[in-house]
């Protein structure tokens, strides 16, 4: 009898890392089977103290924006908003009308002193020009009330105004507004960090602001600072983990606890054959329709089954394959089972990838591989 920690051949959690690699807790001797980090320019993360900080190129990011530490894997994104930490009026960048901006007014989310105080008088607006396409777009900005919690008016404009109230507290919060601008190309487009012309009944006329971002995404990715031009953070990838000695092809278990970011793309975490060969693979993935799926491919068949749930939720998912038997588990429940024609032969599965082909982008809390088919009861306990 052995416990699951003893039985696991690979255990990855967000704890140990070095330049270019995130380290497995198990195995604790070579071959370690660590995932290699590739790509990714300088990027930011929320550290364990809740402060935004910069991670230099090729350093994995453990991010605490969700409240707990996770391995952060992000696609490329561009912050279209210029001077993301400067909210004063600039010709061609943004304008103020009946608005007072006091720079360096308070501690900002990095721990610096670059939070700006924005105060709206009557009939006021404060905006930044944005070149927006007709794609899904997310405007995010950090807001904090200098007095009490209340509501504050933001806006985005694509030929029409889209004013709305957001809730602001006395702590820094990242406010996110997702929308799709119209397809017109000739109109001026703006996002507003204050606009009280709509008569929405806001309770706050002053807020601290910091860190604006506009990107062509359905969600706000990690903060990208800008000055005079939009800045792009490149995609990052984690590849080539595992080892033939750590994976038992004929029978085993792959378990992940993860959350995908974008419901509209495929996100695969997978064990493959050597050479990132997805034609022989076990893949837990989120589909472009937002679902959690299992795909197993061997030399004779493709096996697709649904885990259920939403891939944009942080969930525990596990697949057990044992010869031709396959079982799927999600959040403590055996959700489906089936037959994989042919199964796998020895040493077919050798590598682990978070990112190859349609790679995973999201938060990963744990990834565990077992070289044996655990009992159903063990996997139910594992995923509970």
């Amino acid at each position: 009898m052995a416990n699951l920690l003893e039985k696991a051949s690979i255990v990855l959690t967000p704890t140990g890392y070095s330049s270019g690699a995130i380290h497995n807790v198990k195995p604790n001797s070579s071959p370690f089977g660590d995932l290699t980090k590739a790509g990714g320019t300088v990027a930011t993360r929320v550290n364990s103290s809740g402060l935004i900080e910069t991670a230099t190129n090729n350093i994995p990011r453990i991010d605490y924006a969700s409240g707990s530490g996770n391995i952060l894997v992000e696609p490329a994104s561009t912050n279209l908003l210029k001077y993301s930490e400067d909210f004063t009026a600039r010709s061609g960048v943004g304008s103020l009308n009946n608005v007072t901006v006091t720079s360096n007014a308070t501690t900002d989310p990095t721990g610096g002193n670059n939070g700006s105080l924005v105060t709206l008088s009557a009939n006021a607006y404060a905006n930044k020009n944005i070149t927006m396409t007709a794609n899904e777009t997310t405007y995010s900005i950090y807001l904090k009330s200098p007095t009490v919690a209340g509501t504050y008016p933001l806006n985005w404009f694509d030929g029409s105004h889209h004013r709305q109230l957001v809730n602001v507290t006395t702590e820094w919060q990242r406010i996110q507004i997702t929308f799709t601008p119209n397809a017109g190309s000739s109109v001026s487009r703006f996002v507003y960090f204050g606009d009280n012309r709509g008569g929405l009944g806001e309770t706050l006329s002053s807020v601290y602001v910091w860190g604006g971002q506009v990107e062509n995404k359905e969600y706000a990715s990690s903060y990208i600072p800008t000055t005079s031009t939009p800045i792009t953070r490149s995609a990052e990838s984690y590849l080539d983990g595992g080892d033939v000695s750590l994976i038992n092809s004929p029978s085993g278990v792959l378990f992940v606890e993860r959350q995908c970011f974008d419901s509209g793309v495929n996100d695969r975490i997978q064990i493959t054959a050597t050479g990132r060969n997805e034609n022989i693979s076990v893949s837990i993935y989120g589909t472009s329709l937002g679902a959690n799926y299992l795909r197993i491919k061997n030399s004779t068949s493709n096996f697709f089954r649904l885990f259920g749930g939403l891939k944009t939720n942080m969930e525990k998912l596990a697949v057990k394959w044992d010869g031709t038997s396959v079982k799927l588990f999600r959040e403590g429940v055996l959700v489906d089972s089936g037959t994989l024609s042919g199964g796998f032969t020895s040493n077919q599965l050798t590598e682990i990838h978070l990112t190859t082909g349609e790679g995973f982008n999201g938060r990963l809390k744990q990834l565990i591989v077992f070289k044996e088919a655990l009992s159903d009861a063990e996997i139910i306990a594992l995923t509970s």
């Binding site: 416990n3 959690t13 967000p14 704890t15 890392y17 380290h23 807790v25 744990q366």
Partner: protein, 72 residues
């Protein structure tokens, strides 16, 4: 795994010696010989030694301990 069986439970909190697993005092040492100990500290020590950056250890300890406690 922690002993939770009635009187057997005293072994993870007995007064004698300097701790169940570190006891070197005569017969008290017998407790350390039979005590079940966690491998989590050892795993994390090795991980830290080969990592340039090391953090979030408390959360990982919880995850690993949960795994260790699944012994069906």
């Amino acid at each position: 795994m922690a002993n939770s069986i009635n009187w057997g439970k005293i072994y993870d909190s007995t007064y004698w010696g300097v701790g169940v697993t570190s006891n070197t005092i005569n017969w008290g040492k017998s407790y350390s010989d039979i005590a079940e100990t966690s491998v989590v500290p050892s795993l994390l020590s090795i991980l830290e030694a080969r990592s340039t950056y090391y953090e979030n250890a408390a959360a990982t300890t919880t995850l690993l301990t949960n795994l260790e406690n699944i012994d069906l």
